[in-house]
């Protein structure tokens, strides 16, 4: 033992020999080497020249049709019948393009986290089309993660899209995105469990529902919700407003009223009855109502958040030409109608409400009633009165987003 100690520390006690000096210098260079290695592990930013340039707005020429396309989308977001989607089947029949439709998005940020790494290197994340919410489109444009679209390949969009869905503020000129569907973040609840009608955001702070209230992990939705509850218009929120909103959310949390923070999986929780009241996306609740008629969706009196989900083509996508085919295909009025009749979200295609009414006239019984309900519902196709109650997300730059996120994570991760 002592021998070993001497061997280890001998060099420190004795005057340093030349050999010793070299040996130590060698050790030092090992550390230097590790340092260089550590530095080499730096992660490149998007502002660097090496990254894809975000301002590159003229699309590069499209390759040939490859015969396949991979789409990433959210749950309950396309028509289903007998275990398959008629839309997807007819797409393959008409175009000869095999489609791999993956339901992999549960939350914008979480999904973004899984594709961020390859996209930052300009490589394919495995998807040709992804469907993300308006603010995420803006963020991805900022990061240079999206390909400009070839509008000459999207004639159906030009011809059929509602004017209000063209040229949105998050992507002026629809250079990178075209809408998939739009909806509202309001309140969903089970009237049998709550025992009363809900009208206000304050109902989600009602101690009577302790342990059965759900909130969203989507920071913009949950903060938007709390901001509106505090009487603040989300787009005009200052940092103080957001801090107050955080307090509001913390209060809901500390008192045990909120059960948890959910992504799209809140729908299971509402369906199984673990949640009685939850922040909710409009179309989900209408779809769930088919199984549980006690479910209700409301726009609270303080207003609700309005969002648009968009189809975009990420950089490095392997089948961009096929992706355009699919985008154009779902803007066919008949196809868009089929999807809307199933998903219950507002379609960006202008002929859809009339086509649904037409289908209703041809159908009979419960089916006809249901279709009529969709076509006339102010929550699926917002009336002017409903529109006036809807608010957009605030456009956040990176610094704001970080600050908001910091405040929000303190709520969610407690």
């Amino acid at each position: 033992m002592t021998e070993r100690m001497n061997e280890l520390f001998g060099g420190l006690q004795d005057p340093m020999s030349r050999r010793e000096l070299l040996r130590r210098a060698g050790r030092g260079s090992v550390f230097l080497g590790v340092g260089a290695l550590l530095a080499a592990c730096g992660i490149q930013g998007e502002d660097d020249d090496a990254g894809p340039a975000p301002t590159e707005a003229s699309p590069s020429p499209l390759p040939e049709i490859a015969g396949q396309v991979v789409v990433a989308n959210w749950p309950l977001y396309i028509d289903r019948a007998k275990g398959e989607s008629p839309t997807l089947v007819s797409f393959t029949e008409e175009t000869d393009i095999q489609i791999d439709y993956q339901v992999v998005i549960n939350d914008n940020e979480e999904f973004f986290g899984t594709i961020q790494e390859p996209l930052s290197r300009g490589q394919s994340a495995g998807y040709d089309i992804i469907v993300v919410t308006d603010w995420m489109v803006a963020k991805m444009i900022r990061l240079g993660f999206l390909q400009p679209l070839h509008h000459d390949r999207l004639p159906n969009f030009e011809a059929n899209a509602f004017e209000k869905f063209k040229d949105p503020s998050y992507d002026p000129g629809n250079i990178y995105s075209i809408p998939w569907a739009a909806g509202i973040t309001g309140i969903g609840y089970d009237i049998e469990r709550t025992g009363r009608e809900l009208t206000s955001r304050e109902d989600l702070w009602d101690p009577a529902f302790e342990g059965h209230v759900g909130m969203f992990t989507e920071m913009r939705d949950s903060f938007g919700f709390a901001l509106l509850a505090n009487g603040v218009v989300p787009e005009e929120a200052t940092m103080e407003d957001v801090e107050a909103a955080q307090q509001k959310l913390l209060e809901q949390r500390e008192t045990g009223i909120v059960r948890g923070y959910f992504g799209n999986d809140y729908t299971d929780q509402l369906a199984t009855g673990n949640l009685w009241v939850s922040m909710a996306w409009s179309g989900d609740i209408f779809a769930l109502q088919q199984d549980n008629p006690n479910l209700r969706f409301i726009i609270p009196e303080e207003g609700a958040m309005r969002w648009t989900d968009n189809m975009v083509i990420p950089v490095g996508a392997e089948h961009p030409a096929d992706a355009h085919e699919f985008m154009n295909f779902v803007y066919d009025p008949r196809i868009a109608t089929n999807i809307t009749e199933w998903v219950w979200y507002e379609s960006p295609v202008s002929q859809v409400p009339d086509l649904i009414r037409q289908d209703a006239a041809e159908a009979s019984g419960g089916e006809a009633e249901l279709l009529d309900q969709i076509a006339e519902s102010p929550l699926v196709f917002p009336s002017e009165e409903v529109e006036s109650q809807l608010y957009n997300y605030k456009n956040l730059d990176e610094e704001d987003e970080r600050a908001w996120n910091e405040l929000f994570q303190a709520v969610v991760q407690g």
Partner: protein, 294 residues
């Protein structure tokens, strides 16, 4: 000149004897180098970087990040370690009698019993955990009827409580405790117990002074195999937990995937690693590793 010749001969002979066994380490060693050392170095580097997704991350040797995350996530660190200890303790209490019974009383049913023990684990981890969520639903097929009968209060729930998370972890890690305990008990020399009896030992003191000490290697291995993954787990808290059950694994996942704050995520991972290493070292010291591994 002569000395070099003299020392060279035995050295090469030694190499001839020892070379082949060492070269057997090569595949595993390379594997560890590529998939363990390289990621560790890269993660260490990331933890000392600063920046953002847009600006990129640059190595600035910012050790402050470590203090930051300790201050920010102290509750989740403590909670994870507490959960880990609870899980390991509960598993010892559950698995020791189980392994003991199978090893000493299993007889010809031993293999069948062991098979039954691991059978549920042929099903994917995630599926089993999700299944608990359905079974334990507030108005699910267990609690629903009990509530209707009035045996449970309407407010009773298991999901979204710490109990659910700890319970899920206990369930998911059961074989990792049971199997090492079984192996330790099974290979025990039974004649030692007869000897203890011959020396007028009661059955209790024979257990305490013979069986228990001899099974300590199993206790040690089982504790490590359950405590370490339990502390870092995030699935159970994610699926079965609610508010105030967030574990450090969830924080890491969230920092990495949602906030894209890679330095913080990496720093937390390293702190967790250091914490576990220290904990295990103390534990090994207390139990006396030399006897356990030697």
């Amino acid at each position: 000149m002569t000395t070099t010749v003299e020392t060279a001969a035995p050295r090469s002979a030694r190499w001839r004897r020892a070379g082949p066994p060492y070269s057997l380490l090569l595949p595993g060693g390379l594997w560890l180098l590529v998939f363990f050392v390289v990621p560790m170095v890269s993660m260490l580097s990331v933890s000392l970087q600063e920046g953002s997704l847009e600006q990129g991350y640059e190595l600035t040797w910012r050790f402050q990040t470590y203090l930051d995350v300790l201050g920010k996530f102290d509750r989740q660190f403590i909670r994870s370690i507490f959960y880990g200890l609870m899980v390991t303790g509960a598993l010892l209490l559950i698995c020791y009698p189980l392994a003991y019974t199978i090893a000493f009383r299993g007889g010809r049913w031993k293999n069948a019993l062991l098979f039954l023990l691991i059978m549920p684990f042929f099903v994917s981890f995630i599926i089993r955990t999700l299944e608990w969520k359905f079974i334990l639903a507030d108005d699910g097929f267990i609690f629903g009827p009990l509530k209707n009968l009035g045996w449970l209060g309407q407010d009773f729930r298991v999901l979204a409580t710490p109990f659910a998370v700890i319970g899920g972890l206990v369930y998911n890690f059961l074989p990792f405790m049971a199997l090492p305990l079984y192996v330790a008990l099974e290979r025990m020399d039974r004649s030692l117990l007869d000897a203890a009896g011959d020396l007028y030992s009661s059955r209790t003191s024979a257990f305490l002074r013979v069986t228990l000490p001899l099974s300590l290697p199993g206790v040690f291995a089982g504790s490590l195999l359950t405590f370490i993954p339990a502390v870092g787990d995030f699935i159970n808290a994610e699926v079965l937990g609610g508010i105030n059950t967030t574990m450090i694994g969830n924080v890491i996942q969230n920092e990495f995937l949602v906030n894209n704050d890679y330095p913080e995520a990496a720093a937390i991972s390293f702190l967790l690693l250091a914490g576990i290493l220290i904990g295990v070292a103390v534990y090994a010291k207390l139990l006396g590793t030399e006897e356990l591994t030697g």
